[in-house]
Symmetry: C2
Subunit: 311 residues, 2 copies
Amino acid sequence: MQYLTDTDMGLDLKQVNRAVEAAFADHGKGLVQMPPKVYITLPDGDFRTMPAYLPSLSIAGVKIVNVHPNNPLKGLPTVMALTIILDIPTGQPIAIINATRLTDMRTGAAGAIACKYLSPKKEVILGVIGTGRQAEAQVKAIRQELTITEIKIWSRSSEHIRHFADRFMEFPCHAMSIENVCDCNVLVTTTPSRVPIVMNEWIHEGTHINAIGADAPGKEELAPALLKRSRVFVDDPIQAIHSGEINVPISHGLFSQSEISGTLGEIVIGRKKRESSDEITIFDSTGLAIQDLAIAKIALQHGTTIKLPFP
Amino acid sequence: MQYLTDTDMGLDLKQVNRAVEAAFADHGKGLVQMPPKVYITLPDGDFRTMPAYLPSLSIAGVKIVNVHPNNPLKGLPTVMALTIILDIPTGQPIAIINATRLTDMRTGAAGAIACKYLSPKKEVILGVIGTGRQAEAQVKAIRQELTITEIKIWSRSSEHIRHFADRFMEFPCHAMSIENVCDCNVLVTTTPSRVPIVMNEWIHEGTHINAIGADAPGKEELAPALLKRSRVFVDDPIQAIHSGEINVPISHGLFSQSEISGTLGEIVIGRKKRESSDEITIFDSTGLAIQDLAIAKIALQHGTTIKLPFP
């Protein structure tokens, strides 16, 4: 058994996008085993347990990931993760991977795959709401799939905006109000908001939105009227209903399961697609265990390795 | 973060019994978070993911455990396990424990606690069906709670019986037919059987049975008529219905959820008990994540430690 860390160093983001895309294709074809993630609530956060088995990639395992919003005050990341990989023929644990940064990257990759298929065009103005680690991961992954001509940014903190813009010097980056950020081709929302911060009337026809921030019951970023007006795709229906962007509108009776247009897996295998240049599409991301295994498969070839005695 | 192995070495089995008993008390009082374990099926076995949080013991984490029946042919144990412990205030993984032997021990401890409360008397003839690692763990844990005057053993292999008896030289051990083993005060069944091997008419009144072997859909060791005639206690109703001794009779309509007499947690807190010296009691064990955390809490003080970089 091995412990691996720093596996994110030098990963080829195009390769990550392709691996995550392949995992979603298997998901669309019903070829994966992936029960919904299981939540345990702790006093100051929660942790989620995410087992899966991807036969076509020959990988099986479990990601364990926490979300503790006050961790930065203690000098720790909000989100930290381990992925445990099991040998398929024997069930023996063979690798434990520090998956904190891989978690950011695989979520970025899902957003990039959604953009590849749902963006109204290949050359886009990108709107980014929130400037944390996930906002950065989304831009890094999306730029592998689309040509970004400008980034419009909103964050509560002007310091964070400066920081963010410094990381993407190759693009013109402009800070502005949320309303003005929404005037773009592809919008990415990455905040931990519990009230809608993107209003329906701010989004023009043809926009694609990656709704990334809502990943637990009670979280939402988009006005329910915007969901009603759009075609909403999810990564996994059960997880999205429980904890994705649609969870609050569904619990309030403002959106129903039957209004989900399809899954990202169905899009990747061509069963669903953007139907017109003026429809608004939304990808509601909750994060799937198969994304973690897809990136783990690549990560196993990278990083620092420590051998551990087992069994 | 630390990796710990050999943590079973020198563990005080009385202390383990007390810790597991305390965990069941919390379970009986509804003070734990423990979703049902999640199964993933692999080609030659399965693995189970078991997250939990025990506030009173201040421990949270996940056990990952496989069951691959053909592993011994490959020189590996059938069951192997890791437990990942998270820091409650921050969610950071702080320990990864080699939990293969701890899994045996915590299952033994649950059987011992069931015997402590349900055995018809304190001085017993113990019947043991199956002579694998779990049979050994049951006897080692039960002898902390009861005085064993004789062990009656059945196994398919006379070599396994000899091996088993060699480990318990302090007790008179006698090999015999299953029917004759059943003539005892406390019976422990630990086989992977998928058909009943213990017949109703072989069990006399007043016997207590630890039904340990059935831990996955399709497995059963006891005749359904015996279940109907007995008071059946479970560790967790949802898990027992899915994968415990009662799973097959329930799926065939021969036993119903309403016939479960209670949980081991309810017994430990005194809400349920053996009502008469002549009733037959059965403890249907599936194995709970809270048992794994209770023993992990003790194991963290033992064994060989390897420091790992994280986050």
